[in-house]
Assembly symmetry: C2
Homo-oligomer: 658 residues x 2
């Protein structure tokens, strides 16, 4: 490792061990990649030059086996699903176009072939991993993005030739923004409305060759280029339209719905809606990966801004001569208040991400299969299957929530870092412009954040209804606690700790101390309960009053978004507490203060809610800025160690100001 540790190096090392967590070996593996393979070439503006560079780098990654990490051993991989996601995340310290392009090839394209395909398709996995077969993932259409169920591309089975006919019925059904489509992809996973024997079967995925070996579009396939984008210009996003393109029936990725030669349709999941959501559920890895990449990009931006803030001086101390005894930027309280709470929340999200990857990994690598209710392992009992289905739903919900919160945090924090570096932050050579522009789309791709948070809220409401039915809404405490207890997340000790902390805080008289961890946890838990309970009552009342369902839910959108946020806020703080619980002793004190800074910033921002719901006194609310100032002052000496702990190799930083 070339990571230079400063005088606070012991602290940085301890923090790093804690942050690196379960996949520390994978992280070090990626850190060992040569800088010339991953550091963005910020001076390149020509789109074709950027694409060519990324294509070349992707080949180099493939040659190093990067495409195999997440594959099951049966397909030549090492079966390390979590490691694959973590490796992807680590590329977020490098070239984000390379990251996204690798995600398209191995995560989306390869992932769809693996998850939605059957054995006949799995033969392709080796070529996908090695990049001998470059592909793309053609889901989004011009007119339909978030609403995948309404896609308009069709795939109609023709018994007479044993072929599927893939067709774009009108311009708005053109596949759009498809990474890999404009230049490199030869095979596309095309999501379309399947029909056989004249009956619609819902959205399925079909493999459609889009380019021949020479790179020319296949007959009937029209390829267009999306052209210049805000960022990620090393990714060749394009458009695909199909004019009655014929592919063999066996090109249907038929795991969840297959066609026999005579046109008979069969599926292991009877209910069409459940089948659709089961298919989409297999793609959860993409959202987990984006949340991870957003985290890495945010930490890189903070590293640059903190280092600049430590080096840059501006204005003299009062009484000093102009230009003498100038103050380091990071000594200004306002500068600390901009950067350090964002840094604290970045730690919180890193712990939450680590947990999420763990859940994904464990669910993906256990024997049996939770997703379709069938079992590949005869020993798996029914309640285990139900447990897995529950776990899968929780994973999907948590991935959606964390993806939304982490990517918005990235957008806001990278913006703050840019501004904290002034004019220098605006120069491409200092990396912040590309970090901003490249990550900007994270908030709307792999699921629009606003839509995702509504999904989270709807999931919470479903669980709430299952728990309470038509009962009165008393006892949501019990509900949330049982939900916590039912979590699949591996932190048994921490879970007990959290319960104890909350219990102890609630047993005390008076308002509670905002610096008490149990009280902090309790406040976020109360907010989640109260918001969800109010939302459920509001919807039930409206339904009882005969309000039009669309109007009812539409008017409550703000409430839905708040419920989802409140949920994610609680989950993230609990992950932070669990992270501290298993941290290196040398890191504990600083992490405790960092957790305070994270949660008190949140409480200050949301204090309106706590005040108007009688959950916080005005005295406490007014004390928050003072606490934040003190926490910033206490953490300021450790700012460098806190970013050094991310372990971004020095040669990767690539910003001239650091």
């Amino acid at each position: 490792m070339t990571q230079a540790l400063g005088p606070d190096g012991g602290l940085a090392a301890a923090l790093r061990r804690t942050l690196d967590g379960r996949w520390s070996a994978v992280r070090d593996d990626v850190r060992a990649l040569p800088a010339e393979l991953v550091v963005p070439r910020l001076e390149l503006t020509d789109v074709e030059a950027q694409r060519a560079l990324v294509a070349e780098r992707l080949q180099a990654l493939a040659a190093r086996g990067h495409g195999r990490r997440g594959l099951p051993p049966a397909h030549g991989g090492d079966g390390d699903v979590g490691g694959g996601v973590v490796a992807f995340e680590m590329l977020g310290y490098g070239d984000l176009s390379l990251l996204v392009r690798s995600g398209v090839q191995w995560g989306l394209f390869g992932g769809a072939v693996l998850s939605l395909g059957t054995e006949r398709h799995h033969e392709l996995l080796d070529d996908i991993a090695s990049l001998r077969l470059p592909g793309c993932f053609a889901m989004t259409e011009t007119d339909h993005g978030s609403d995948v169920q309404s896609l308009r591309t069709t795939a109609t089975y023709d018994e007479s030739t044993d072929e599927l006919v893939v067709h774009t019925p009108y311009d708005g059904a053109t596949k759009n923004y498809i990474g890999g489509a404009a230049r490199d992809a030869r095979l596309a996973v095309v999501f379309c409305q399947l029909s056989t024997r004249g009956k619609p079967r819902g959205v399925h995925a079909v493999l459609v060759p889009v380019r021949d070996q020479q790179g020319h579009p296949c007959p009937g396939v029209t390829v267009a280029d999306c052209g210049v984008k805000a960022g990620l210009n090393g990714v060749d996003n394009g458009r695909l339209a199909f004019d009655h393109v014929r592919v063999p029936r066996t090109n249907l990725l038929g795991r969840y719905g297959d066609i026999a030669p005579d046109g008979t349709y069969s599926s292991p999941v009877d209910d069409p809606d459940r089948r659709f959501f089961t298919m989409l559920g297999t793609l959860v890895r993409g959202r987990v990966s984006v949340a991870g990449a957003a985290g890495a990009a945010t930490r890189l931006a903070l590293t640059i801004a903190v280092r600049y803030g430590e080096a840059r001086r501006q204005f003299s101390r009062p009484g000093g001569a102009a230009g003498a005894d100038e103050v380091v930027l990071l000594d200004y309280r306002a500068h600390q208040r901009r950067l350090l709470p964002a840094l604290a929340t970045s730690y919180a999200l890193a712990f939450a991400q680590d947990e999420l990857v763990g859940v994904l990994h464990d669910l993906s690598t256990r024997p049996g299969d939770a997703r379709d209710g069938s079992s590949a392992d005869g020993d798996v009992r029914a309640d285990d299957v139900a447990g897995r289905q529950h776990a899968q739903r929780e994973l999907e919900s948590r991935a959606a929530g964390l993806k939304a919160v982490a990517t918005w945090h990235a957008t806001a924090t990278i913006q703050t870092c840019r501004e904290a570096c002034g004019g220098a932050g605006y120069m491409s050579e200092n990396r912040l412009p590309a970090l901003k522009a490249d990550t900007d789309v994270f908030t709307t791709f792999e699921g629009d954040n606003t839509v995702l948070l509504q999904l989270v809220a709807k999931g919470l409401l479903t669980a709430y209804r299952e728990e309470f039915g038509s009962l009165d809404t008393r006892g949501t405490v019990r509900f949330v606690v049982s939900q916590v207890a039912g979590t699949v997340i591996e932190r048994t000790t921490a879970l007990q700790l959290i319960g104890r902390l909350v219990e102890s805080a609630r047993s005390r008289d008076g308002e509670g101390d905002v610096l008490d961890r149990g009280h902090q946890l309790s406040l976020l838990e109360q907010r989640e309960e109260h918001v969800l309970d109010g939302l459920a009552r509001r919807l039930r009342r409206g339904a009882a009053d005969g309000v039009d369902p669309f109007e009812l839910v539409n008017d409550a959108q703000d409430h839905l978004l708040l419920a989802a946020r409140a949920h994610v806020d609680r989950v993230v703080l609990e992950a932070f507490v669990a992270g501290i619980d298993r941290c290196d002793d040398d890191a504990r004190e600083v992490l405790e203060r960092l957790a305070d800074l994270h949660v008190l910033s949140l409480l200050e921002r949301e204090r309106g809610w706590f005040l108007e719901h009688g959950r916080m006194s005005t005295r406490t609310a007014r004390s928050l800025p003072g606490h934040l100032d003190q926490l910033c002052a206490a953490l300021r000496p450790h700012a460098s160690a806190l970013v050094d702990a991310f372990g971004i190799p020095e040669e990767w930083l690539g910003a001239t100001i650091v």
Copy 2:
């Protein structure tokens, strides 16, 4: 005009007449520019191609007399200072690189020659206006940006040759990020520490030739290119270093400090600090202009997002078949809540900007000169001079505050618009990426926003001290009211109206209705008073306790920023009220609701403060989301008219999605 007005056209026209305001003729003049001159070429990525295009367009603007608008008639201009700023703002609907490049040439470079120079320099103004003399404004250095008083470039008078020696003493004193320096500028206004007869005289500006007619750097001048930036790549930002470059003594822009041939220094302003701030004060036009441009870019982004929101459909109504009866994005309450409050605040800021431009214009075009206390007009009396100095200070403070708030609003709103357009918003062809990237630097150039808000707060504290001295802090109401009454802003009627509204709201019993305009004004006034009063007491107490001055002010930075924001919030709402007071009758109803939406969004965001200071009941605070939903629902049918009212020519929109 090619502006297509929809069915709501009468409303759009009435709103537009109100928004266009005093300089409507100038606005129409700029709107009449051919699209091929101003619409950005979004497909260009090559930096040199972008610079060449902007240089060519700037010539075309010069040929149309754009460089003369703000010049006094004596120098061949039309003396319309306000019109010049408004014309600059209108270019914000076009190519932002062209806007900034024109601002560098005519605003900063030309403005410095006009304001800081004397007759001998004013001969250059004609060549500057026509672009025969391209120049740049070399203030910022690598090590000193916001702290102009500490710049390190030196200009030393050499009596023996009657020359000034301009020198860059070390790398950190290199002029940096200078627009025009990398490619086109031939003459630079260089800010440097002047010394003569061995004595330092503080920062002054000197004209230094940097390129010859062939475009080669002049001897002793080192030019470097800042390279690729986040945006504004049509502007050739560069670095300038000087190695003992000799220029004639008369190149000193000597209005506020001149040197006689024998080296004697003289200035009309004795106090060096006051001299420095007087010189900087002449540059206020730049900040007013940036605030205006930020407003235009924001309105353009909102126009694109609202039109997309009206056209794009996603998800079916409940109970409908997938893909049938799909809902227009802007019918979703969450979508309205993202775009409409931002639109409302954009109206508020447009009115505030219009007021500010009016003050700038009136102060700049009245006989006499407020800035140096001297008088070019023998009839100007002493109290008039004092009044002008007060007015100039208020103008500078308001320009700083509005620049900060308007540019942050631009950054946040353009981001929201990008996200509201999903993947389409990420494509360069839809303009939002360039709008985002180009305006991003507005928050830190022409004064870093955080620094500017602290200047505003310090100005408020100074006025506060002048008013109260060491008195008790009772009666701040009187102070703020007197400050309002003392305003130079031309809205006598509106001022009386505001007073009446507040008076009437305060005379009523009970908490007050958040939909009552007087109560809204009163709430923002109370917040400003209370925050400022608390800040003053805090600082006084700390000083009395002997706290180190740096620590005292540093710990209070958050408080300073809040005081400045509270001040700007009040000023902006008052400008909105004044704008409605003089609006077209057909626009009144919608503007009233829009003002409600603006102020209620602000109150909802800031309700923590009002609650914790007992200025709002929890019941009222909890009613705010419901009010916002209702206001959004009420305004939603007018969304298109509200953006059509900006009068952006159709051919300028240049986004494929609108």
